[in-house]
């Protein structure tokens, strides 16, 4: 029943990508004679993203946000559920069948050091997608396109002969973005693309992503643990906790008035760079519970200061509280604040 609600939930016109009741479970432990446990990294997740829309996905480590992003791009095979890309079910497609779809959906990695092959030049790295997907292009045409996409990300063809280690972290991230853009994708998953960078460089890359979405109209799933960055870049935000989306809403609505206690606590925990503000912070007790043995009912109830006995009985369904604003909390009476 939660599923039907969730599918109905965020319905932009003509979704580019639609995710229905997606589950990604991983077996752990286990051996020859012993049945292992199952980590429910992503559990019953449904949402959709419209053409040109940017959805932020926020959560802490262990929330399953990265696993979700990778599953949607079919870097793994989901346990159950459905992923529709441009109306087509891609959930069970094999490697070969996915190949013609790859140019339409690309990935931006977190670590600008690990995501570029140290033995390849920038020209080879950025040109590889063309080499594979557009083998008909000759060297000159390829170079022209490489130069074009490098300019888009603020680099020039002048750098094309160099190796990744000759660049700073921010520049490397630009190279990674260029590789993702060269085939003109309709959809990007960006997995914490700025969190490995220095503060002053973070801002450069956030600005670049803002420009890219404005100019190229590419839709994005932007995964981050940083609410402030998400706020600057995204149209809507989904908050994940222990494998499930607990709240999803238009950015402004979520920032003005969060409707899930976990979102409230997240806002409260972000340190604000202004020493004159002294606020009462909500300090959550304990850690995220183990995904091996999640609590019954609402997974957040153990750390929630508004928890009721009923919270333990069943996983709360996603319910709509406002236009496009959904929360997985059974309490309707809460007046959650966001201390700033």
């Amino acid at each position: 029943m939660t599923a039907t609600a969730a599918i109905a939930a965020p319905v932009p016109e003509s979704p580019l990508i639609e995710v229905r009741e997606l589950r990604q479970w991983f077996p752990v432990g286990g051996g020859l004679l012993r049945r292992g446990d199952v980590v429910r990294a992503v559990d019953d997740v449904s949402f959709s993203i419209a053409k040109g829309e940017v959805l932020g996905l926020v959560g802490e480590s262990g929330s399953g946000k990265s696993t979700l992003g990778r599953a949607i791009l079919r870097m793994s095979t989901p346990t159950s559920g459905q992923i529709l890309f441009e109306g087509r079910d891609v959930t069970k497609l094999g490697r070969r069948a996915l190949r013609p779809l790859r140019p339409r959906m690309q990935f931006i990695f977190q670590d600008p050091f690990a995501s570029l092959n140290p033995r390849m030049t920038v020209r080879q790295i950025v040109g590889a997608p063309l080499l594979i997907q557009r083998p008909e292009l000759d060297g000159a045409a390829r170079d022209a396109r490489i130069g074009e996409v490098l300019r888009t990300v603020g680099l020039s063809l002048h750098y094309a002969g160099r190796y990744p280690h000759e660049f700073s972290g921010g520049q490397r991230q630009r190279i990674g973005i260029a590789r993702a853009l060269i085939l003109e994708p309709a959809f990007l998953v960006a997995d914490e693309p700025v969190s490995a960078l220095d503060v002053s460089i973070q801002a450069q890359i956030v600005n670049l992503l803002i420009d890219i979405r404005k100019e190229l109209g590419v839709a994005m799933l932007f995964i981050s643990h940083d609410l402030a960055v998400v706020g600057h870049l995204c149209d809507r935000v989904a908050v994940m906790y222990l494998g499930r989306i607990v709240e999803i809403a238009p950015t402004r609505a979520l920032f003005r008035r969060p409707r899930h206690p976990y979102t409230e606590a997240l806002f409260s925990a972000v340190p604000v760079p202004d020493p004159t503000i002294r606020r009462e912070r909500i300090i959550l007790k304990g850690d995220i519970p183990s995904p091996l043995a999640p609590p019954s009912g609402c997974a957040f109830r153990g750390r929630c200061r508004y928890a009721l006995p009923e919270c333990a009985s069943a996983v709360p369904p996603l319910r709509q509280v406002d236009g496009g604003h959904w929360t997985r909390c059974i309490r309707d009476d809460l007046k959650l604040g966001r201390s700033l």
Binding site: L73, M75, L98, R99, P100, R102, P103, Q106, F107, F109, Q110, D111, F113, A114, S115, L116, N117, P118, R119, M120, A128, P129, I132, Q133, H165, G176, R179, L183
Partner: protein, 295 residues
């Protein structure tokens, strides 16, 4: 180790890795010695026989067992009066050629097996790597002797037989390296653009596994030279009148008391070449170590 962690970003910017590897290699005295010795041995084997005024097959019964350095025979002569030095150099051509060729064949095959197993994983990996384990279970010297007993010995067959018993180490090294690289983001990135398997294996993975392959290949040469010596010493390898260091030793054992130089010089050559290749391998391992860890 925390200091190291704090200094890592600094370290990363220091010079290019290639430069650094060469600097580290240069510091390895034994490896430098090994390189020099190998180059000298190869050059001498190629050029030497033309410079020495004796033919390796020229029998001179009057000057049998001439001790060195008698009458221009710097290393003396053997039981047929043939010049030992020129035979040693001609044998060097054979022994070193077998060493290098066996290295090339076994490295190519081992790399192919390792990269396939490491990249595809799953059942393919299990089958291939269990085959590697099975091959390693045979004492390779017996395998070598059995094969040699059935096959007409020649440079080609001996090379292939040695290669057949030497590729497993490379396969294991490559498989381990590829398996760890396999999960790296840049490999995922290649998968994400729909790259076919052979592109990922040979364009993305292989260049990053070159370091360990080069080290393993160098050590394989040493092993192959030694193997050839074994087999030929036992009489199953290179056959007279063609000389190899192994069959020269075999030949020398009857005269060990009367003409010890017949055994000493081939023995020294085997020791020198095997040691040199091992030194170079060690030096390369140390020099390339940091590069295995692709940042």
């Amino acid at each position: 180790m925390t200091t190291a962690a704090a200094l890592a970003p600094l370290e990363r910017d220091l010079a290019t890795t290639g430069n650094r590897a060469w600097r580290r290699f240069r510091r390895h005295r034994l490896a430098l010695f090994g390189i020099v010795a190998i180059v000298l041995m190869v050059l001498a084997s190629i050029v030497g026989p033309w410079l020495i005024p004796f033919d390796q097959l020229k029998i001179d019964i009057r000057h049998r067992f001439a001790p060195p350095p008698w009458g221009g025979h710097l290393f003396g002569t053997d039981q047929l009066g043939r010049d030992l030095l020129v035979r040693l150099l001609m044998a060097g051509r054979i022994s070193l050629a077998i060493g290098f060729l066996a290295m090339i064949v076994s490295t190519a095959f081992g790399t192919l097996v390792g990269i396939t197993a490491g990249y595809y994983g799953g059942a393919i990996r299990i089958v291939l790597m269990r085959f590697v384990d099975a091959m390693l279970c045979f004492p390779s010297i017996f395998l070598l002797l059995i094969l040699a007993a059935f096959i007409q010995p020649s440079v080609t067959t001996i090379t292939l037989i040695i290669a057949a018993t030497s590729w497993m180490e490379v396969a294991r090294v490559v498989e381990a390296q590829v398996r760890s690289l396999r999960e790296r983001d840049f490999i995922l990135a290649a998968e994400m653009i729909g790259a076919p398997g052979r592109y990922v294996m040979f364009r993305e993975l292989l260049p990053n596994a070159i370091g360990p392959i080069v080290v393993a290949a160098t050590l394989t040469v040493a092993r192959a030279v030694l193997m050839e010596a074994y087999v030929s010493f036992l009489g199953y390898g290179i056959q007279a009148p063609m000389a190899s260091w192994g069959n020269m030793l075999n030949n020398a054992q009857q005269y060990l008391g009367s003409a010890p130089w017949l055994a000493i010089f081939p023995g020294l050559m085997i020791t020198l070449s095997v040691a040199s290749f091992n030194f170079v391998g060690d030096g390369l391992r140390d020099a390339l170590d940091a590069r295995f860890d692709v940042k």
